[in-house]
Amino acid sequence: MSYRPQVIDHLVRPRNVGELAEPDGSGESGDAACGDIARFSVGVRENVLAEVRYKVYGCAACIAAGSALAELVEGEGLLEAARRSRADLEDALGGPLPEGKEHALTLVVDALHKAFEDYWDRLAGEVLVEGYRGADG
């Protein structure tokens, strides 16, 4: 098993790392007990994803996928970003991840979608969206 140079590049120079101090939405996915964890926070201005920050604990694929996803969607319209699929993310990483590492795509896409859910719920002032699974759902 070995990773593409694009994955290693995102691992050693991860983009958009961190957490927004006052996010418009935030979401977490993974298994806090012992597995990988991803957390995304987003800032939305006029339906555009103005700021995206992420944090990941996990294998190299998870870190790289988080970085690539944050880079991919920052600056996109909210609906455009919400339609981003695992396949788009795979393309951004230069192609399929090594066998057994595909969970990394799901982990970070889920966390971003949960951040969107949180944003829409806050906007509506109530739980409006639950279990939104994005373009892959």
């Binding site: 290693i8 957490e19 012992c34 964890i37 604990y57 996990g58 294998c59 190299a60 870190i63």
Partner: protein, 397 residues
Amino acid sequence: MESRVYLDHAATTPLDGRVRDALVSHLGEPRANPSSLHGLGTAAREVVEEAREAVARLTGASPREILFTGGGTESDALAVLGLARAAVAADPARRHLVVSAVEHSAVRKAAEHLESTGYRVTWLGVDGHGLVDPRELSQALRPETALAAVMWANNEVGTVQPVEELARVCREQEVPFHCDAVQAVGHLPVDVTEVPVSTLAFTGHKFYGPSGVGALYVRDGVELAPVSFGGGQERGLRSGTEDVAGIAALGAAARLAAGEREEWARRERELRDRLVRGATAIPGVELNGHPAERLPNNAHLAVEGVEAESLVLFCDASGYAIGKGSACASAGEPAGGEHKASPVLAAMGQDERRAFSAVRVTVGKDNTPEEIDGFLEAFSGAVAQLRELSPLYAGRG
């Protein structure tokens, strides 16, 4: 990316130049089968027997007690399966094994294989440092025990077992004792005249010799059944035409180790201590395994808040080749299998999160203090960056 500094010697060592010369010169010779009657065959036989003498001298054995095999894993399999089959052939009731919980998978899975065919296995636990208690071994042995197996030194955390005591316990109770010494030979004094093992497995590529060639010491008088069949080479215990060049190279590595091991170990220990001092000065980095009773070349580090694979690849990108600390239990199993830590750290009482945070840094005779200092700088930078990324480590670095 090319790694410039190699710090993964427990995985395999570079071939020493003098061993490479032996290998190449024998590859270049006219090929002959050591079993052939003609002069070329006799010459090939002499090469094999000279290597056998060198390997025997390194371990305090007699040449006739050394079998050449295809490597450490094969030596372990031959010992575990061969001792078990010989025991059950002598007495059908002898279907019980005692095996430590921290064995390399070569021994562990051979024992599990026997377990699946009706043998009972008592798995010996270890303490927090990874040590087996000789009293527990003694209590686990029964009249129907076919063999006990405890490794000389652990391939992950580097802990060195009280093998002399363990082997004596087995000898007193007349139970064959197998010792996997793959990590020990060439790094620690391993002498079968002092440690009454029945069988001892080791391989060339952990002490600057070739991979694909190993040895099994079988003490005179120990009953071992073959597990492969054919031309009857190696006293009928390991059939198959000998790899003459590989065996010659193993012999060359054994001669080097016999003369230079103490100096290698002194250098390894100095570099290892420098590395451990520097690494454990980083908050949240701790040494796994026994602080004193450990391999001279092994630093096994638990790094809080970081996942090992990311850290290994991060160090690799900075030019340092190190190993993951926990051999993945699911390696080689179908893709998508459960991500599990190896049983070693679990047996030592560590939780999965800590097990997945461990890296293994193993130095070699040709590393320098400057390389260690360079590594420590890259390592602390990598740890800091990965912690910054981690949602689990927020506000603690």
